[in-house]
């Protein structure tokens, strides 16, 4: 542990990020600019999330890293081993045992509790990006709460597809004020953002933005009165491993002749349930 | 109703060395309710100029012109607009309309501007067009495609669709056949009967004799140096 400062980043950088985090917590849903550093991994691999995690970690922490819900995929494994190496903190795959969870595109199925920190990796923090390309204009729109355009996007979906077709990165309104991109989590996870006891932090490395949802923040998914938001998922299936009916499922192709199965995307949730079933059997 | 006192007018041609062209001086006349007065005088003596000064599209430079108590000299645009909407009608010699607007709508417009329901306004406009022998098959077409006589009748229909208390008629019977001329003279007589004050230019002496109570020779209003 002599080669690196604790958690890789120097203390001045952590201080800078923490200041951005405090501001983000003070203004829920507002995108705070920060001076994103070069990290030893390419953009798009979670450089924003890693910097936020590094700025939050203390030696007593227990870190869990998931990628699309799984603890055992490349991104999750490499970030976990990165922090094992540069921070020496304990790591875990158990949601309940983790104090800090860095995630790419999922919220764990097991309910989070007070004291936990959930760090999201964010590719594009600006929910208005593809509607209004000028950053100067989108900032003004946020400042003036000029969100008609966001609603137009949902209108267009219904006009074209008969429903709001957006299935991930579904825009939300925070505390009735800022419209926020919740990162590319499935819309199935959107309700978990609302009134969560955990602190939720969002880091976008390439875009140099940090935003946050303090515990117990009101988070509403945008919709229409006559086309209300529905947190849907693959219908008509249970998890093929643990039999869960209430979890978000991945479709897994099992052979070359069209065979497939649906399993929990949250590997820890699935494994915990499977172990319980075995113990009960 | 229409009261002109010592009205004068001159044109200043700024692009021709500031030439000052006096065209009218000391014009005075009165038209009371139920009265029809004809302006007479040789061509170019200023009959149309005086009509335009009363209508308000020519500025009055001296004296006073009042219609229903409203002073037109230096009047604010909105006062002139209000006057034209409710109290002062004008049948010009030429029909000026937006291309492609149906004749029926052209005639109904003065009623619509006053806030009448569209269906009712069209009904009245249709009745007026029928009275003036415009066949129904033409009502839906733009008058820009009509013959001169038909255009003039559309213009008259528009000019008589609302019972304006004061009316200006510029050659209302020109380019009309005998039958239609008689209908227009009836319209004028009806307007007088309901109390309208009418000032007109009629080249047609028979028409003038039939409806006009008095004549005013505009020659007397010509500027002195030109009159000499």
């Amino acid at each position: 542990m002599t080669e690196y400062n604790f958690a890789y980043l120097d203390e001045a950088t952590k201080r800078m990020i923490r200041r951005a985090l405090l501001k983000a917590v003070a203004i829920p849903g507002y995108q705070v600019p920060f001076s994103s550093r070069e990290m030893p991994m390419p953009y798009g691999w979670g450089t924003g999330g890693v910097q936020v995690t590094a700025a939050c970690l203390v030696p007593e922490d227990s870190l869990k890293v998931i990628d699309q819900g799984a603890d055992d995929t490349t991104n999750a494994v490499s970030i976990r081993s990165f922090f094992e190496k540069v921070a020496g903190v304990a790591t875990t795959e158990s949601t309940a045992d983790a104090s800090v969870i860095q995630t790419r595109h999922r919220i764990p199925e097991a309910p989070l509790v007070a004291g936990q920190i959930l760090v999201f990796q964010v590719p594009i923090p600006e929910p208005l990006r593809f509607l209004e390309p000028r950053e100067t204009e989108t900032r003004t729109m946020h400042a003036l709460e000029d969100y008609g355009l966001m609603q137009v996007r949902l209108y267009e979906d219904i006009a074209r597809h008969g429903e709001i077709a957006r299935a991930y990165a579904y825009p939300v309104k925070v505390e009735g004020r800022y419209v926020m991109d919740p990162s590319p989590i499935p819309k199935f996870d959107n309700p978990k953002l609302n009134m969560s006891p955990a602190l939720q932090l969002f880091g976008a490395g390439r875009e140099c933005r940090i935003y946050a949802l303090p515990p117990f923040t009101r988070v509403e998914s945008l919709d229409f009165e006559d086309y209300p938001f529905t947190p849907s998922k693959a219908a008509g299936h249970d998890c093929a491993i643990c039999g869960a009916q209430d979890s978000y499922l991945d479709e897994v192709i099992t052979d070359d002749s069209g065979g497939r199965m649906f399993v929990c995307s949250d590997t820890d949730y699935c494994a915990t349930r499977a172990a319980q079933m075995e113990a009960n059997a | 109703m229409i009261e002109v006192r010592d009205a004068g007018k001159q044109f200043v041609l700024h692009n021709q060395g500031g030439t000052v062209l006096p065209v009218m001086e000391g014009a005075s006349l009165r038209v009371g309710p139920g009265e029809c007065v004809a302006l007479t005088g040789a061509s170019g003596v200023g009959k149309s100029t005086l009509m335009r000064m009363i209508w308000g599209n020519y500025r009055c430079d001296a004296g006073s012109i009042r219609v229903d108590g409203v002073e037109l000299r230096n009047a604010a645009p909105r006062d002139v607009l209000a006057l034209r909407r409710d109290r002062l009608g004008y049948v010009s010699q030429f029909l000026r309309v937006i291309p492609r607007v149906p004749a029926l709508d052209v005639v109904a417009e003065p009623l619509l501007v006053q806030g009448m329901e569209e269906a009712e306004a069209r009904l009245q406009a249709g009745a007026m067009l029928a009275k003036l022998n415009i066949p129904q098959r033409l009502w839906g077409l733009s008058p820009t495609t009509f013959s001169g006589g038909e255009q003039q009748r559309v213009n008259i229909a528009r000019g008589f669709i609302h019972p304006w208390p004061a009316m200006l008629l510029d050659e209302p019977t020109a380019s009309l056949d005998a039958a239609n001329r008689a209908i227009v003279l009836d319209l004028i007589t009806d307007a007088k009967r309901r109390g309208a004050a009418i000032l007109g230019i009629f080249h047609d002496a028979d028409a003038r004799a039939a409806v006009c109570d008095r004549e005013v020779d505009v020659q007397g209003f010509a500027p002195k140096e030109r009159a000499a």
Binding site: T140, L144, E145, D146, Y147, G148, L149, Q151, V152, Y155, E156, I158, A159, R160, D223, F224, E225, D226, Y227 | F11, V12, L13, H14, N15, R52, G56, N57, Y58, R59, P77, R78, V80, L81, R96, I98, P99, R100, V101, L112, V113
Partner: protein
């Protein structure tokens, strides 16, 4: 009656160059005022200052707002001004591409202002958008098509529907018939006249086309080198122009 718009001493300079200077006028409800002049006369600068797109150097623009009565729009905060731009007033651009979202369906374009002022019922928004598209004579079968697939005249009509859907009282128009064929212009002019009459709209319309103002405007303001050189009733200014520049302008029109 309260004037809808009162403009006092409005001036805008671009360095040493005068954009517009000392403009005063009062616009009453239901009035259509034309601003004419050649390119560079300051008419577009004036329009943009009135509509809050440009900040003038001096002057006052007092609008009789629906919510709070007469207010100087120049001293309003930006959020208030933007709110006005979605409610009390509207701006029709010469080029529909500047006033429409070309990647959003015609219905979405019309519905945007409704959603921007808080409408959240899809069925209602869609019904209102369809109603407005019908009023501007666009087949509702095309309401889910993008304006990029429409002709120039149709695009301009969608822009007008988009602007009028929230019932503004004052509409600014910058050469609305500019890029259109003559026959399409006529139809648009007729449409505008009908809407102005039915809705009691007040309009400030900038154009260099005297036949457009003759058919549409009640009043006229003639501008030259940033100054208003003449104003008055439209047919009076056109038939009996007093100022040398107006005389030149009127006599330069080709009659066919």
């Amino acid at each position: 009656m309260t004037p809808l718009l009162q403009v006092e001493g409005l001036s805008k300079r671009y360095g040493a160059h005068i954009g517009c200077a000392d403009v005063d006028f009062t616009l009453w409800p239901g009035e259509v005022m034309g601003i004419v002049g050649e390119s560079g006369s300051g008419k577009s600068t004036l329009l943009n200052c009135l509509a809050g797109h440009l900040a003038p150097d001096t002057g006052r623009v007092i609008l009789d707002t629906r919510a709070h009565g007469p207010r100087d729009t120049l001293t309003m905060s930006e959020p208030e001004r933007r709110w006005l731009a979605r409610t009390d007033w509207a701006f029709v651009h010469q080029n529909p591409r500047d006033g429409l979202r070309m990647g959003v369906s015609a219905g979405g374009n019309v519905g945007e202002r409704l959603m921007a002022v808080g409408a959240r019922h899809y069925g209602d928004i869609r019904a209102q958008a369809a109603d407005w598209l019908t009023r501007v004579e666009i087949d509702t079968a095309r309401m889910d098509d993008r304006p990029s697939t429409f002709s120039g005249g149709m695009q301009q009509r969608v822009q007008i529907a988009r602007n009028l859907v929230t019932g503004p009282r004052l509409v600014f128009m910058d050469e609305p018939t500019g890029g259109l064929d003559v026959s399409v212009q006529a139809r648009l002019l007729d449409l505008l006249r009908g809407l102005v009459r039915r809705l009691g709209l007040s309009v400030v319309i900038v154009t260099h086309d005297l036949s457009v103002v003759r058919l549409l405007a009640d009043r006229l303001m003639v501008m030259k080198d940033g100054h208003v050189v003449e104003e008055g009733l439209t047919d009076q200014v056109l038939d009996d122009p007093q100022h040398g520049y107006t005389q030149l302008l009127v006599s330069s029109v080709l009659h066919v």
